[in-house]
C-alpha cells in the first residue's frame, strides 16, 4: 500500500462530497428537479439494504429459511406503525436473534 494511493482515494471521495455543494447555487434548481431530488434517500438506501439481506456470502440469492428476510419484514411492520427509528432497528435485531438463537434458523 502506498500513501499516494490513499491520498488519491481521499481526494476522489472528497470531490464526490464537495462538488455539488460547491457548484450548485441557491435556487438554481427548479421545483421539478427538487421534487426528483427529494427521492434520493428512497433511491439510494435500498441499494445498500437489499444485497446483504437477499444474497449469501457467495453472492447468490438466498430466499429459503433466511432469518434476515423475516426479521426485516418484522422491522418494516414495527417501523410502519411506530414511525420510530430506534424501535425499527431494535425490533429487527432482536427478532433476528430470536430466530437464530431460539429457532436455530
Amino acid at each position: 500500500m502506498y500513501w499516494s494511493l490513499i491520498i488519491y482515494a481521499g481526494v476522489i471521495t472528497f470531490v464526490t462530497r464537495f462538488s455539488m455543494i460547491f457548484l450548485l447555487k441557491k435556487d438554481i434548481l427548479n421545483d421539478r428537479a427538487k421534487k426528483i431530488l427529494s427521492f434520493v434517500p428512497a433511491a439510494i438506501f435500498p441499494a445498500i439494504i437489499f444485497p446483504p439481506i437477499f444474497l449469501d456470502s457467495a453472492g447468490s440469492l438466498d430466499l429459503e429459511g433466511n432469518p434476515q428476510i423475516l426479521a426485516t419484514i418484522f422491522a418494516i411492520i414495527v417501523g410502519y406503525f411506530s414511525k420510530n427509528i430506534i424501535a425499527t432497528i431494535f425490533s429487527g435485531l432482536i427478532s433476528y436473534w430470536i430466530l437464530i438463537f431460539l429457532f436455530n434458523f
Binding site: 500500500m1 500513501w3 494511493l5 490513499i6 491520498i7 488519491y8 482515494a9 481521499g10 476522489i12 471521495t13 464526490t16 462530497r17 464537495f18 455539488m20 455543494i21 460547491f22 457548484l23 450548485l24 447555487k25 441557491k26 434548481l29 421539478r32 421534487k35 426528483i36 431530488l37 427521492f39 434520493v40 434517500p41 428512497a42 433511491a43 439510494i44 438506501f45 435500498p46 441499494a47 445498500i48 439494504i49 437489499f50 444485497p51 446483504p52 439481506i53 437477499f54 444474497l55 453472492g59 434476515q68 426479521a71 426485516t72 422491522a75 418494516i76 417501523g79 410502519y80 414511525k83 420510530n84 427509528i85 430506534i86 425499527t88 432497528i89 429487527g92 433476528y96 436473534w97 437464530i100
Partner: protein, 232 residues
C-alpha cells in the same frame, strides 16, 4: 444553551442511534487492515483521509487482490458516487455558507449524517444556525468511525460474528426510510433500487451497483412524477 450549541447537540442526538452498526463495522475494518498487513498507521490513515467505510473495505479487498491503481481508484469513486446526489440535495441549504464551512461539512458528510440533517433542514428552515446540525451529526460519525477503527487495530475481532451485527447496517438504513413506507411512489422507487442493486451486485463492475441502482430508481421517479404534473 445558545442556539448554535442546541442545534449541534440536536445533530449529535439525532444521529446517535444510527451509530450502533458503525462501531462493529469500524472494528471489522480495523481488523481487515491489520490482517492484510498494511499496519496501524495506514489502516487509521485510510479512515481519516478517505472517511468512507464501504469504500475503504473495497480499496483493501482490491489492493490485496492485486488490482491496478486505476481499478482501485475507479471503484472508490463508484462506491462514493452517491455522495454527489447527497450534495445536490443539501446544496439548497448549504449554498449560502462560507467556503470553509462547505469544505468542513463536505468532509464529514456520510450517509447517516446526510439522512438525519436533511430531515432537520427540511423541517427547520427558520433556524439560522441549521448547518450546526450537520456539523454535530457529521463529527459524531467521524469520531465513532475513528475510535472503532482504533479498537479494531488494537483489540482485533472483539465482536462475535454470530451476533450478526452486520445485519444492523441494513436495519439502520431501513429505519431511515420509515417515513417513505406510506407513499406508494416511494415504495416503487425503493423496490427498483433494491432489485437493481441485488441483481447488479455481482454483475456491475467497479462495485458501481449502488450508483447504478440509484440512477435507475431516479429515472423511475422522473417517470412517476411525469404523470403527476399531467393530472394537474
Amino acid at each position: 444553551m445558545n442556539n448554535k450549541l442546541k442545534t449541534l447537540v440536536k445533530g449529535i442526538i439525532d444521529v446517535s442511534p444510527l451509530m450502533i452498526p458503525v462501531i462493529p463495522f469500524g472494528i471489522i475494518y480495523g481488523v481487515i487492515g491489520m490482517d492484510l498487513g498494511i499496519g496501524p498507521y495506514m489502516t487509521l490513515g485510510l479512515s481519516i483521509i478517505i472517511f468512507g467505510g464501504a469504500s475503504q473495505i473495497v480499496l483493501l479487498q482490491l489492493f490485496s487482490g492485486g488490482a491496478s491503481s486505476l481499478v482501485i481508484l475507479s471503484s472508490v469513486g463508484a462506491v462514493n458516487a452517491r455522495h454527489v446526489l447527497y450534495g445536490a440535495v443539501l446544496s439548497e441549504h448549504l449554498s449560502t455558507l462560507k467556503l470553509s464551512w462547505k469544505i468542513i461539512l463536505s468532509y464529514v458528510m456520510t450517509d447517516q449524517a446526510f439522512a438525519v440533517s436533511n430531515n432537520y433542514f427540511k423541517k427547520n428552515n427558520k433556524d439560522k444556525n441549521y448547518h450546526y446540525h450537520l456539523l454535530g451529526s457529521g463529527f459524531t460519525c467521524w469520531s465513532i468511525w475513528q475510535i472503532s477503527t482504533i479498537l479494531g487495530i488494537v483489540l482485533g475481532s472483539v465482536v462475535p460474528e454470530e451476533l450478526g451485527l452486520s445485519f444492523t447496517i441494513s436495519l439502520t438504513f431501513l429505519a431511515l426510510l420509515i417515513s417513505d413506507f406510506r407513499k406508494f411512489k416511494n415504495i416503487i422507487i425503493m423496490l427498483v433500487s433494491g432489485i437493481v442493486a441485488t441483481i447488479g451486485y455481482n454483475t456491475i463492475p467497479f462495485k458501481a451497483y449502488i450508483i447504478v441502482a440509484a440512477l435507475s430508481a431516479l429515472i423511475v421517479a422522473v417517470l412517476l412524477t411525469l404523470t403527476d404534473s399531467k393530472k394537474r
